[in-house]
Symmetry: none
Subunit: 81 residues, 2 copies
DNA sequence: TTTCATTTGTCCGTATGTATT
DNA sequence: AAATACATACGGACAAATGAA
């Protein structure tokens, strides 16, 4: 999956979709760490601000849980799981 | 206090007034942290841009002091205090 | 204990585009 | 035309929590 800088869909929503897919497919297993904001921003060539927006979405969807100073983790009890 | 989206008074001035009142009434005591931009924007359902305008006003009035990376605090020595 | 790297939290400034008033 | 408001996006900086050296 690649992020399209110029698109109808905002970059942060595209990134959220990418990570959401990995969670729902099991590629990112429950309890494991989601790549750090720094890593994601490097990998996709986007700003940290944009990464954080994506994470905010996933938190609202209760797909991930964030621990300050530690990281963001895939929830063990996924909504509707 | 509630912000009226459609009003003679701009939203950012309404928000500034709300926080100003809490400071002057002591509900927000000197030295304590003012809710973060993110919190305020969520609580009132307004944009970050608008929150920041409100904070700029309060800073100009010297009611609050902002510490980068930490937060915005109620001044201990209020103007005319 | 102190130090250090990592990671998230918050803030500052800027910019573009859209829409409304 | 100008001010207000929202959404998006970028970059830099410092603070605080964590954990490891």
């Amino acid at each position: 999956m690649t992020i399209e800088p110029v698109s109808e869909v905002p970059v942060y929503k595209q990134l959220a979709a990418i990570i959401r897919d990995k969670i729902l497919s099991g590629e990112l297993a429950p309890g494991t760490v989601v790549p750090s904001e720094h890593t994601l921003q490097q990998e996709h060539g986007i700003a940290r601000d944009t990464v954080r927006r994506a994470m905010n979405l996933l938190r609202e969807e209760q797909l991930v849980v964030t621990v300050p100073g530690k990281g963001t983790f895939v929830r063990r009890q996924l909504p509707g799981g």
